[in-house]
Subunit: 396 residues, 2 copies
C-alpha cells in the first residue's frame, strides 16, 4: 500500500485531525461542537481532508433525536511506529492513527552496543510486526532514547549512559531506513506524553512524570506541552544531590539521587544485602539466578522480606525528598511515578508520598495527587506514536 504523505493544509485541519485522534470516530456535528467554526466552513475542511484520504467516512452514527449523522474517522490504514529504547531493552509497537496499540514487542538489548547495532535490531522488530500483517508500511515513527536529545534535529547529545550515540543523526538515519517521517525524543518525555494521551494525566495541563528505571528522569509538561529545556536536558534529575557527601556517582559527584536509588543502585544494594546475609529471601534468589535485579527486590518485598522493604522505603524516601523540592519549585497539578520499578508498587509510592507531603508547603501539595502511571511499559511507545502524530497532524 502506498503510504499517505498528505499533511493538513491549515490549522483547522490539523485541529480536526487531533480531535479525531484523541476522540475517535466522530460526526461532523460533534466536531462542530468542539471547534467553533461555521457548519459550512467545517464541511469544506472535512471534505478536503476526505480528499487527502487522511480521514475516511465511517458509516452512520446513532441518532441524537433527529437525522442520523455520517461519522468520519482517521484512515484506519494509517500506521505509526513507536520505539522506546531503554538501557537494557527495547519496546517496539505498531499503532493506528488513534494511537491504539495493534502489536507490541519487547526484547532485551544493550544501548551500549551503539546506534548501528541497536537500530538493526529495531528495524528487524519493525519488520517482524509488519510481516505479521499489522502494517504494510509506516506513515511515521517516534523514537525514545534514554538520554538528552537536541529535539529539532533529533540527535542525542552527550548521553551519559549511551557512549557512541553522541551526535548520531538518529532522526535522519531512521527516516531513511523506514522511508517515513521520524521524530526523536527523550524516553521520559515520551512516557509523559503517553500518560497524557491515554493514562492518568489526560486532563492535567501541568504535571511531572518521574521515571525510575535503570536511571531516573523526569518529564515536564507545561500547559499541555513537553518542556525540554535550553539544551534538551530538562528533567535530568538523576544527578540532583540527594545525600550530602553520599555515594560516589558515575558522573563524578557524590550523593546523586541515581547513585542512591534506581534500578541499578537497587540491584547493587540487594546484592550486598544478600552477600552479607541480611536477607534470606534475597540470598536464596541470588543463589538461584547468580545475580539480582530490581525485580528480585520487588518480589522479595512482596513476599514480606523486611530488608527488601527497607531498601524500597529508603529509596522512596530519597526520591520523595528530591520530588518535594521539585513540587515546591514547579507546583504541578499531578505527579506520575513510572518506569521499570513500578513493580515496587505501593511500598515505593507510600514512601514518596510521605516525604513529599511532609516537606512541601500545603499550598503546593494540598490538592496534589501522586500516583503510579497507568500504562506501564506501553506508556513509552504510546508517547512515541503521539510524538510523531503531533508532527504529522500539524500544518505543513
Amino acid at each position: 500500500m502506498r503510504r499517505m504523505t498528505a499533511r493538513p493544509a491549515n490549522a483547522h485541519q490539523a485541529r480536526l485531525l487531533r480531535l479525531l485522534r484523541d476522540g475517535g470516530p466522530n460526526s461532523r456535528a460533534q466536531l462542530g461542537d468542539q471547534v467553533d467554526l461555521s457548519r459550512s466552513k467545517l464541511a469544506v475542511e472535512v471534505d478536503r481532508l476526505l480528499e487527502t484520504e487522511l480521514v475516511v467516512a465511517d458509516g452512520l452514527a446513532a441518532s441524537r433525536g433527529g437525522r442520523r449523522s455520517h461519522n468520519i474517522r482517521l484512515n484506519p490504514h494509517l500506521r505509526l511506529l513507536g520505539v522506546d529504547i531503554g538501557a537494557t531493552s527495547v519496546d517496539v509497537a505498531v499503532t493506528n492513527a488513534e494511537l491504539e496499540i495493534l502489536g507490541h514487542i519487547n526484547q532485551p538489548m544493550d544501548v551500549r552496543d551503539g546506534p548501528v547495532a541497536v537500530f538493526e535490531q529495531v528495524l528487524a522488530m519493525a519488520a517482524k510486526l509488519r510481516a505479521s500483517g499489522l502494517a504494510e508500511g509506516f506513515d511515521g515513527a517516534g523514537i525514545g532514547v534514554p538520554g538528552p536529545v537536541r529535539f529539532p534535529e533529533g540527535i542525542p547529545v552527550a548521553p551519559p549512559i549511551m557512549p557512541g550515540w553522541d551526535g548520531f543523526p538518529v532522526r535522519e538515519a531512521l527516516s531513511q531506513d523506514l522511508g517515513c517521517p521520524v521524530m526523536v525524543d527523550n524516553d521520559v518525555n515520551l512516557m509523559a506524553m503517553g500518560e497524557q494521551h491515554a493514562g492518568v494525566a489526560r486532563t492535567v495541563p501541568d504535571f511531572l512524570c518521574v521515571k525510575i528505571g535503570t536511571g531516573i528522569g523526569c518529564g515536564i509538561v507545561v500547559g499541555g506541552e513537553v518542556y525540554r529545556g535550553t539544551t534538551g536536558s530538562a528533567g535530568d534529575i538523576g544527578h540532583i544531590q540527594a545525600v550530602p557527601d553520599g555515594r560516589p556517582c558515575a558522573c563524578g559527584n557524590r550523593g546523586c539521587l541515581e547513585a542512591h536509588f534506581s534500578g541499578a543502585a537497587l540491584a547493587r544494594d540487594a546484592l550486598e544485602a544478600a552477600q552479607q546475609r541480611l536477607s534470606a529471601e534475597l540470598a536464596s534468589r541470588l543463589e538461584a539466578n547468580g545475580t539480582l535485579s530490581a525485580a528480585d527486590v520487588a518480589a522479595a518485598a512482596a513476599a514480606g522480606d523486611a530488608t527488601a522493604i527497607d531498601l524500597i522505603r529508603e529509596g522512596g524516601s530519597r526520591t520523595g525528598q528530591v520530588i518535594a523540592g521539585l513540587v515546591s519549585f514547579f507546583n504541578p497539578g499531578l505527579v506520575v511515578i513510572g518506569g521499570g520499578v513500578t513493580g515496587l508498587g505501593h511500598t515505593l509510592l507510600a514512601a514518596i508520598r510521605t516525604q513529599v507531603y511532609r516537606q512541601s508547603l500545603p499550598l503546593a501539595t494540598g490538592n496534589l495527587p501522586i500516583v503510579l502511571g497507568e500504562l506501564g511499559p506501553t506508556a513509552g511507545v504510546i508517547g512515541a506514536a503521539r510524538l510523531i502524530s503531533d508532527h504529522l497532524f500539524s500544518p505543513a
Copy 2:
C-alpha cells in the same frame, strides 16, 4: 486628562502596540519589516490605532535612502503605575507606555500591617507622584506582592509572610480606588518580567530569576511567558530543604533554604556573630545602630571582615546547592540573581556559581550564565508596568 480606555481590537493591533512598547518610536515601514502584513493592511491597522489615540504621529524619521517615513509612537501621555510590595518596603513608580520610569518612590513599610493600611500608603505615594506633575491619572497598574497569588483573580492565597492578606481582593479593590485596570502577581515573577523587558534576560526564552530578599523566591519563565504553577505557588523555593535536619523554619520543617539564608536569616546570623564577638566589624555596627541587617553584613564584607564574608559564602553555597538542583531539572538558558541582597555582590555570586557548576551536569551548565540582575530595585516596578501593559495590549 481623560484616561484612554481603548484596547486593541485584534491580534494585529496588539502585536503592533507591543512592538512599539519594546522598540520605541518606529516608522510604518520598520513595523512592516517585523509583522509580515501587507503594507495596505498595516496602514489600515495603524490608522485605527491612531484613531483610538493609543498611538500618535511623531514626526519624520531619518531617510533610509529614499522618501523619509513618518514615525509613530505610543501616546506619550499614557501612564502606568508599577507597585512592588516587599516585606519591609514598597516601591511605587510611574512609567510611560514604553515602560520608561518617570518617577520612583521607595518607602519603608510592613506588610504585616495588612492590605488596608498598605494600600492607603500606596495610594498616597501614587498621589504624590501624580501631584508632582508626572501623571494626571493612570491607564493601568501592576501590583507585586511577596507571596503566591491566584493570578486570574488577582487574590493572594495563603501567603506565609502576609497574614491578613489571604483572600483579600487586591485586584478589584485597587481597580476601584485607582479607576483603571489592575493586575496582580507575585513580586518575584514581576522581577523576572522586568529583567526580561529591560534587563539581562532580554533575549532568553527560558530562564530562572532567583530573588533573595527577606525570603527567597524564584521566577520561572518558559518560552517567554511567566509560569505560575497550578495554584500560583510555583517558584516558592525558600522552603526546599537545603540542610538535612537543619535549622527549624517558620513553616514547621527543618533545614529550609530560607531558614539558612535570606535577608532575615543573614541578619540573625550577623547578630549572633556580633554578640559572640566573632567579628569586631559587625559588633561595632551593632553598637552603632542597635540592630543589624543584611546591608550591614554587605558593608562589613566590603570592608574585608572575614566573618561577614564567611556568612555570605556559606549562604551562597547553600543557595547554589538548591539552584544546582533546579538547573538540572529545568535546564534554563540563564539564571538571574536579584533582590535586596545583591548588595552582597560578587562574593555571593561566586559562591553560587562554584556550587552550581560543581553540582550540575556539563550539558546543563556548559553554556549557562549566572549573573546578577541589571535593574536592581527597579526590576519589580518595571515588571509590574510590563504586566499591566501586556494586559492592556491584548485584544479586548
